[in-house]
């Protein structure tokens, strides 16, 4: 296990190296950051001087080595538009995204587990058909239409929920990093629409996944045997069958959580939610390349971590899986 963790950490470092290298080699196609820093009437000469000062004209290798050297000291560069260390900017935006994903993950778990199981156990019931139909519909509507549709109904038409932003937040650790919306009524109100919008695209996937896995398990010899043994249906459903559906569900959940972190861009854009996706799009549109590279490196490491955790969890749920990947 220990060797496995070490190996994964080494791999993670390698992944980040490759990401930063790729990031560096494509950064020139993002645009010229100097353009966003100066007004439109600044002469090309002044702009060139500024690019020189920022070290943007140095050869590729010089820039990359400089980046690596600083990275060793935990410095991933300085964001041009926020004028702060890129890592700090990212860490300050991360809680918003984490809370958004957490909120929707909560909604997904609360609804998809019972609904998924119910539809598997009673596939022919009217309610099951309704749930399946509705979830299929949910997955078919693009998220930004869902989001703006919600805003249209709940904020503009009925005036019951706020239309944008995070509302009133509380500084969780008192150091300005983690602004939480979970502790105020206003903050929670602001969470509702974005979380449901984000959940709406993921939830159907889980209901369907749980349903199909559950149905599959219910058909296995092992369940039939348990039934023949005369175990109560409740016990069979919740203990035996349920446990066996968890493996693929956890896998997909892990992947999806990872995806949600990096791809909340659309939801965050529509709701003006100040998270990482929002920050990323802003950085692309304003060519803040040093922030972008730091972002890529951070997201890359998040992926490696999430996948490692998922792989470890495999081992716990299904001991027959070779966790470390050795034969």
């Amino acid at each position: 296990m220990f060797a496995f963790i070490i190996r994964r950490i080494l791999q993670a470092i390698l992944v980040m190296l490759v990401i930063s290298l790729v990031g560096f080699s494509i950064k020139n196609s993002i645009g010229d950051p100097v353009r966003d820093l100066v007004g439109e009437r600044v002469t090309p000469k002044e702009r060139a001087a500024m690019a020189e000062k920022l070290g943007l004209n140095d050869p590729f290798s010089t820039q990359y080595v400089r980046f690596l050297k600083n990275a060793l000291h935990g410095d991933l560069g300085t964001s041009f538009i926020y004028r702060k260390p890129a890592l700090e900017v990212i860490l300050k935006h991360a809680p918003a995204t984490i809370e958004l994903v957490l909120g929707s993950a909560l909604i997904i778990v609360i609804f998809s587990l019972p609904l998924g199981m119910y539809t598997a156990l009673k596939p022919r019931s009217l309610f099951s058909r309704f749930v399946m139909g509705f979830s299929t519909l949910g997955v078919s509507v693009p998220v930004f239409l869902t989001a703006i549709g919600f805003i249209y109904l709940f904020a503009v038409t009925w005036h019951v929920l706020p239309s944008y932003g995070r509302g009133e937040t509380v500084d969780l650790f008192g150091n300005g990093y983690w602004q939480t919306g979970f502790l105020t009524i206003d903050g929670l109100k602001h969470l509702i629409l974005p979380c449901i919008s984000l959940a709406s695209i993921m939830m159907p996937l889980f209901i369907r996944l749980i349903r199909s896995e559950m149905m599959e398990v219910l058909e296995t010899e092992y369940i039939k045997y348990a039934r023949a043994k005369g175990l109560s249906p409740m016990r069979i459903w919740f203990v035996h069958a349920f446990k066996n559906t968890l493996l693929p569900v956890v896998t997909v959940f892990g992947i999806q959580i990872g995806i949600m972190f990096a791809f909340t861009i659309l939801t965050e854009t529509v709701f003006q939610w100040q998270g990482m996706g929002f920050m990323f799009l802003d950085a692309v549109q304003r060519a803040d390349i040093s922030l972008l590279i730091a972002y890529l490196v951070v997201v890359g490491s998040v992926f490696v971590i999430v996948n490692t955790v998922v792989d470890v969890m495999y081992g716990f749920i299904n001991p027959t899986v070779r966790v470390a990947g050795t034969k």
Binding site: G39, R41, F80, R83, I148, V156, P162, G165, Q285
Partner: protein, 516 residues
């Protein structure tokens, strides 16, 4: 005793003011928020807006294009090179320091060091302090636009910004990409004091208790500014009542804001000309004035204004908007498909040709849609357009590289004067002087001569004749395709009286805003 009475009186005044006005909070959703608190770090619309809230200029523009005294109470021209400004007395900075002539000089000197402003300040020699409340502004050549430029002279608190900060950096340093004292701290004389500033998230301002302009009718006590980038979300935020005022209302939502019972729409002429330039160096046929004319005749800019801009802007046939010295009334929009076809035939391109066009998609109002409509219109005279639109971050690179045969560019005159348009858009591109920086191919020596001559002509009548002659030449040459002058569209709740505080420069004076 006298002091006590004064104290009681002022306390009474303060109390009655706050009770009478009923501490109003204003929530504003803007498409972009200020990038810094340093008024001299960037010359952009957003930064100038902030400057008008937190600082004060010597004079400022009124809605009808006149100068309104602010920190300068009056001014007079001493000679061709010199204008004297008499400064307001008893003005306090947010730090508590008193405002005087030295702050004006200090701020000017600092501005001269700013990468963004130094180009604009080229005509100036400097500011001379005459006494504590009198300064002379001196230019190198006779300069007709001195007052226009005085709208940029915001006073910073020289004492507050002198010395070094906790990192040992000088407090007056101007840096765009790293922390500086001035980027995160302010002391101006303006109506609002920054309470908290988190870039891209929220800026909170409160009314300055010692503000000099006690005659202001404004009753906003707390001013909360949130950037809301996405157009639809910004409109939704206003419709749901989450904010009181929004800017940059997209034209397609004008009707909605007008018809909604809670909101109103205010549009005000903006003076930013939207054009598409034809590059004759890249694509030879555009060297032929007949072909350029054919393009201008083929594009129905009135139709674009009616349909894409919802009829709220003025159709353009020249650079200068009405009211500018160079505006020539006889120049009318040309749209005549038959004439366009005839011109193409005369130039030998009856069968048409294929060209490339580029436009930004997040810089001007409906920029990509204007380009798309133009492509449709050009198809009707046989010009096949390969159109590529992109975000401005990538677009400026392409523009600098002059990567397409036709490219879109919009321009707002820095000086509210016609000459500025020609200097940037239509003078022959010259690397050394920096003229024609946003000109992608047109060149006419006569335009250059006239523009340069107009710079130092202080006889306003003669100057206007020169500027109008430029417009006539550009019109005959079809130097570019003119579309319209972009306006500023604000949406507000009905009880927020936003109309009186707007102006064509797009500096909403929220200090004077009345909320009922």
């Amino acid at each position: 005793m006298k002091k006590l009475v004064l104290c009681v009186l002022s306390l009474f005044l303060v109390l009655s003011f706050s009770v009478g006005a009923g501490a109003k909070t204003l929530k504003v959703g803007l498409a972009a928020d200020p990038v810094s608190l340093d008024p001299q770090v960037q010359l952009s619309g957003g930064m100038l807006q902030l400057s008008h809230w937190v600082f004060d200029p010597l004079v400022r523009w009124t809605q009808d294009g006149q100068f309104e005294p602010r920190l300068a109470t009056k001014w007079e021209r001493i000679n061709e090179y010199r204008v004297r400004f008499y400064l307001r007395q008893g003005v306090k900075f947010h730090s508590g320091n008193d405002f005087s002539a030295k702050d004006v000089k200090w701020s000017f000197d600092r501005m001269k060091k700013s990468v963004d402003f130094k180009g604009l300040l080229e005509p100036f020699v400097g500011v001379a302090v005459i006494d504590d409340y009198t300064v002379d502004v001196v230019t190198a050549k006779p300069y007709a636009l001195l007052l226009n430029m005085a709208t940029y002279f915001f006073a910073m608190d020289s004492e507050f910004y002198t010395g070094t900060d906790e990192n040992g950096e000088p407090k007056d340093a101007i840096k765009k990409t790293t922390h500086t004292f001035a980027n995160d701290n302010e002391s101006g004389t303006g109506v609002f004091v920054i309470k908290s500033y988190e870039q891209g998230v929220k800026t909170v301002m409160t009314r300055f208790a010692d503000y000099w302009d006690t005659k202001s009718v404004g009753n906003v006590d707390t001013f909360i500014l949130t950037p809301i980038k996405e157009n639809a979300t910004r409109v939704a935020a206003l419709l749901s009542g989450d904010v009181d005022v929004i800017d940059q209302v997209p034209p397609q939502d004008y009707e909605r804001l007008k018809s909604d019972k809670n909101t109103s729409l205010v549009t005000i002429n903006g003076g930013r000309i939207i054009t598409i330039q034809m590059n004759g160096n890249r694509f030879k046929p555009f060297k032929d004035a007949r072909v350029r004319n054919a393009v201008v005749y083929a594009i129905n800019n009135a139709g674009i204004v009616k349909k894409i801009m919802k009829g709220t802007v003025e159709v353009a046939a020249q650079q200068s908007p009405p009211g500018y010295a160079g505006y020539k009334e006889t120049l009318k929009p040309r749209y005549d498909l038959k004439k366009a076809k005839a011109l193409m035939k005369a130039a030998g391109y009856e069968k048409g040709f294929e060209i490339t066009m580029m436009a930004p998609n997040n810089r001007y109002v409906n920029d990509a849609k204007i380009a798309e409509a133009s492509a449709q219109m050009l198809a009707k005279i046989g010009i096949k357009v390969n159109l590529k639109t992109m975000p401005k971050a990538q677009y400026w690179d392409e523009f600098d590289a002059k990567a397409a045969d036709m490219m879109m560019i919009g321009w707002h005159s820095d000086t509210e004067d016609s000459g500025n348009f020609s200097e940037f858009l239509t003078m022959c591109y010259d690397k050394t002087t920096g003229m024609g920086q946003y000109n992608s191919g047109y060149c006419n020596k006569k335009v250059d001569e006239l523009t340069i001559a107009a710079q130092s002509e202080i006889d306003l009548k003669k100057r206007a004749d020169m500027l109008q002659e430029i417009e006539q030449i550009l019109y005959d040459d079809a130097a570019f395709v003119p579309y319209h002058w972009q306006n500023h569209a604000y949406g507000a709740l009905k009880n927020v009286k936003v109309k009186p505080i707007l102006n064509s420069m797009n500096f909403p004076y929220f200090g004077d805003l009345v909320i009922e």
